[in-house]
Amino acid sequence: MKKIRLLLVDDEPDFLTAYARRFKRRNVEITEASSGQQAIDHVRESEFDVVILDVMMPRMNGLETLRRIKAIAPDLPVIILTGHADSSVLIEGMDMGAFDFLLKPVGTDELYFKVLDAVRTRHRGQP
């Protein structure tokens, strides 16, 4: 089965490693980015099926990163995953076209199914 190419963006190394480890067993190929700028560089250079994006990051925050990712790859689904229960980020992110908004902590299964949903939606050729 074809691997899902996932870009995981978070400035917390622990978080990146934990999820990367759990997802690798599930047919997901993970690229890690520890800042918004790094994420954008990755999106420019390679193809991804889905992005998981943190919000609170130093320098470029998640919403700005989302805006720039959408400018480069409008139909790349982006799942916001944040430790910040902030409704304005929810609204702004969804308005910018995020696929979904999840709060940490999220179980690996739940996140994995969300990733599958997002990938499916994209390949149905929706905006």
Partner: protein, 871 residues
């Protein structure tokens, strides 16, 4: 999954171009519908959990409540997005209503707004009671008695609430701490210790704002090279102060250059595992906890202790109670040592009783400013800590303080090397009015309790009687394992134990003082308590349930009902907590359902006033968009013919039936199952029909009632059941594809599968949600189904009663088998949630399912071959 759909489209070739596009649209719509249903389930589930939390008053922090609210909003927003995609241009205004409700929800969370920041530090000599909101009561009250009564208090200054806010905001710590609480979502000791550690690291890493650092150093410079005690002075209601006090630390012997480090440590102690537990148990908002600190000169005490201006138990008595130890007074406060005890007549000011204890240790201040424990020997153990004259001076001073505040006081004092009495702290004292019966006086024994006393002559610290399983608490881990409603048994009256008192039935402690901190908190919670119960740990270990009589100082075996009734005292007043209030306020924008009638003219986006309304609206409209007459998919929906098939509709997206080949049917006609060529649908149908369903189990009365209440409480479920469209069960089929959306009463289910020759693109998925029985039974039912599926290679996840399961990357035969199993489970797990209260029934069903499924799978290859599906 991407290739799966490509392959799927590949199988649909041969249709006229327009029709194919319409078919793709229909598949997209069906996928959006599936995601909408999933979000709907999650939103309703979260709402139910929030409602439960509000009803039960169970402890949870504000961070959690806020997270739940945002998660509800996120699920609802997801429903809106899906609905807007299903029918572009029709429901866009839902977003405006949604935004408005979210704004209202945020308002509901907002605490009282704070004024501009004041000074970071205030000198002791400038402090008065009125400065309590800045300095915390501990320090403000000292300033007050110094200024108003001329009482000697330590030199020093307060680091204010404004300083705390400055530190939190300038460094972004407030956001970071909320985030850490949010992501460390747990309640075990290990989880809370992890959280406390992360917060402490964050606090240690945050730079101290320069103006705060400078203000503190300026104060230190003014006071010279002295050693400080840096003490917590948390802000909160007066009544909370006592409960809090035991949780926060004081740093003693602090050098001037280390004051800000000590300040960080004091702030960190607000987030220790026990403090957070206490805050949650009391329903306080962790985002509104504010720590002020007192930085005071260490008193090189020759003696110290605590004064209670009235006996805390039996306030009618006219006595001042004074406890004293040699050295620093910490030993009295934390209950680690025996103390001398005196009574002073309030009218004459004379000592009426003195009780000199054998004191093994004392705490002293070293020249370097450290606190050191010393053993007492050579007769010093038995010497009185202070003279009677000191006792009377103290009593007089304490009564002046009481008079000033107009309320009995709990006062910590020290006597310095010059003989000066210095007051370190004063706060209101909780007093129980009933006098305890002296322990040597005979107590009327009722029949019930005679001969059952296992320990008597203990010192009553809080009156009343209560029973519970006795649980010894020695370590921090014991604290977290402590069960609700147990009798708390401990060796020392450590103040940290106060965090457990809201959950304890009674308290028994071997050593400590009935006038100590822990006793005070026990009285505040109206929990019977005995402090000073030598031998209790040994005598009570492993005896099971005991009754603690905090009035006569006796402990009885078993539950003494009559005694408990006779000693019944008014329960500590229950107050709506801060978190409870915020939860109630926010629920007003979440759970009320105003849109009850889909036929009403108000049933439109503008009519949505709560998250529940939007949920309901989206669900109703999505069902209509999916299945209503004029929204039917291109090839039309056929009704499946046959006695057992009449409630099923079928949509062929290409190659799923023989209808096109014959060119004979149109959408108004019925087709028989024999015309279906889709192998996953044939397998699913076979699974549904192979074993006749015996009908629902006879519900027991309580389950039946539970169905009725569920239906009454959850109109969203009921509404779907009433709805004609929702009642329909749709198969969407292609030659290798099948999707079933079905609804039987309260149960909602999606089954989908693709079974081609390339294992890489094959999959089966199952979503299952709802039921009429109580949540725990529905959860058990989901658990049972999940087990059955996991045995067959599915990855299954359960959230409450909802089940999501997927199987991927397997052979065509494996998907066909999976579809047959899903069909069987769909038909045979209906309403068994009713029977799930009985563990025997769970086992019964598990065995029955395994046997049925085994038999069923044996017949499957034949069925597929006969139907012409097998290659």
């Amino acid at each position: 999954m991407k290739t799966a759909l490509k392959t799927l489209f590949h199988f649909i070739h041969g249709n006229p171009e327009g029709k194919r596009e319409a078919t793709e649209n229909f598949i997209n719509k069906s996928e959006d519908f599936r995601l909408l249903l999933s979000a709907n389930g999650k939103a309703l589930e979260l709402m139910a959990e929030m409602t439960d939390a509000a009803r039960s008053g169970q402890s949870s922090g504000i961070t959690r409540i806020r997270a739940y609210s945002v998660m509800v909003a996120s699920s609802v927003r997801q429903m809106i997005e899906r609905l807007c995609r299903m029918a572009p241009g029709k429901y866009e205004t839902l977003r405006d209503g949604f935004n408005e409700i979210v704004r209202d929800m945020d308002q509901a969370f907002a605490g009282p707004s704070r004024g501009p920041l004041g000074p970071s530090v205030i000198r002791m000599r400038d402090l008065r009671a009125i400065d309590l909101p800045e300095a915390g009561s501990k320090v403000a009250m000292l300033g007050e008695i110094r200024a108003e009564l001329g009482v000697v208090v330590p030199r020093g200054f307060a680091i204010t609430a404004s300083a705390f806010h400055l530190f939190m905001e300038a460094t972004g710590l407030d956001d970071e701490i909320n985030r850490l609480i949010q992501i460390h979502d747990g309640t075990t000791l290990e989880e809370l210790n992890d959280l406390a550690l992360s917060i402490r690291q964050a606090i240690n890493l945050a730079p101290m704002p320069r103006e705060l650092e400078e203000a503190v150093q300026e104060q230190c410079a003014r006071l010279g090279d002295i050693r400080f005690a840096v003490r917590s002075s948390a802000l909160g209601e007066d009544a909370e102060q006592t409960g809090f006090a035991g949780q926060f630390i004081s740093k003693l012997g602090v050098k001037p250059a280390q004051v800000t480090d000590a300040y960080r440590a004091v702030i960190s102690s607000m987030y220790s595992a026990t403090a957070i537990t206490y805050v949650r148990n009391r329903g306080l908002r962790e985002d509104e906890m504010v720590m002020a600190a007192g930085c005071m000169e260490m008193i090189d005490a020759v003696a110290g202790g605590v004064v209670y201006t009235r006996p805390p138990v039996g306030g009618g008595s006219d006595a001042v109670i004074i406890n004293a130890v040699p050295g620093l007074p910490c030993a009295v406060v934390d209950g680690s040592s025996m103390a001398d005890s005196y009574s002073v007549d309030r009218a004459t000011g004379k000592v009426t009783r003195r009780d000199i204890a054998e004191k093994e240790i004392r705490f002293v201040l070293t020249s370097g400013g450290k606190v050191r424990k010393e053993k007492l020997f050579g007769g010093k153990e038995l010497a009185p800590s202070i003279s009677d004259r000191d006792v009377e001076r103290l009593a007089a001073l304490a009564l002046r303080i009481e008079e000033h505040f107009g309320h009995p006081q709990d006062i910590e004092w020290a006597k310095d090397r010059e003989g000066l009495i210095v007051i370190l702290q004063c706060r209101p004292l909780t007093v129980c009015e009933e006098a305890p019966v002296p322990r040597n006086e005979s107590w009327p024994q009722d029949e019930e309790s005679r001969g059952l006393a296992i320990l008597s002559g203990c010192i009553p610290a809080s009156p009343g009687a209560a029973a519970g399983y006795v649980v010894k608490v020695e370590t921090e881990e014991d604290m977290f394992r402590f069960p609700d409603g147990a009798v708390l048994l401990a060796r020392n009256a450590r103040p940290q134990l106060s965090a457990l008192l809201p959950r304890a039935a009674a308290l028994v402690v071997e050593f400590g003082s009935s006038v100590g901190h822990l006793a005070n908190v026990a009285r505040e919670y109206a929990i019977p308590a005995l402090i000073g119960a030598p031998g209790a740990v040994e005598r009570l270990s492993g005896v099971g349930v005991i009754t603690v009589n905090g009035t006569n100082g006796t402990i009885y075996l078993g539950r003494r009902k009559k005694m408990i009734q006779r000693e019944a005292r008014p329960a500590a007043r229950v107050r709506t907590t801060d978190v409870g209030l915020a939860l109630e306020r926010v629920l007003k924008f979440i759970t009320p359902l105003n849109l009850t009638d889909p036929e009403s003219p108000d049933f439109r986006p503008e009519g949505c006033r709560s998250m529940h309304d939007i949920t309901r609206f989206c669900h109703e409209k999505a069902v209509a968009e999916m299945f209503a007459q004029d929204n039917r998919p291109v090839s039309g929906a056929f009704r499946l013919a046959g006695e057992r098939a009449m409630q099923y509709w079928l949509v062929d997206i290409g190659g799923g039936t023989t209808v096109e080949e014959n060119g004979s049917a149109n959408s108004s006609q019925s087709i028989g199952i024999e015309s279906v060529r889709s192998n996953p649908m044939r397998a699913l149908w076979y699974g549904m029909m192979a074993v006749p369903w015996e009908g629902p189990p006879v519900p027991r009365l309580d389950s039946f009632m539970s169905v009725m209440t569920s239906a009454a409480q959850n109109p969203a479920l009921e509404a779907g059941a009433r709805n004609d469209m929702g009642e329909r069960n749709y198969f969407i089929v292609g030659s290798r594809y099948c999707n079933l959306q079905s609804r039987f009463g309260f149960h909602f289910c999606t089954i989908e599968g693709f079974a081609g020759d390339d294992p890489n693109v094959n999959y089966a998925l199952f979503q299952f949600k709802g039921g009429g029985a109580s949540l725990d039974r529905r959860h058990l039912r989901s658990r049972l189904v999940a087990e059955t599926l996991e045995k067959r290679g599915f990855i299954a996840e359960i959230r409450e009663d909802a089940l999501f399961a997927r199987l991927e990357g397997v052979s065509r035969q494996a998907v066909e088998q999976a579809m047959a199993v899903l069909g069987y489970l769909l038909m045979h797990t209906r309403q068994i949630d009713m029977s799930m209260a009985d563990p025997g029934m769970v086992v019964h069903y598990r065995d029955l399912f395994e046997a049925d499924i085994e038999e069923l799978l044996e017949g499957l290859p034949d069925e597929l071959r006969e139907a012409g599906c097998a290659p």
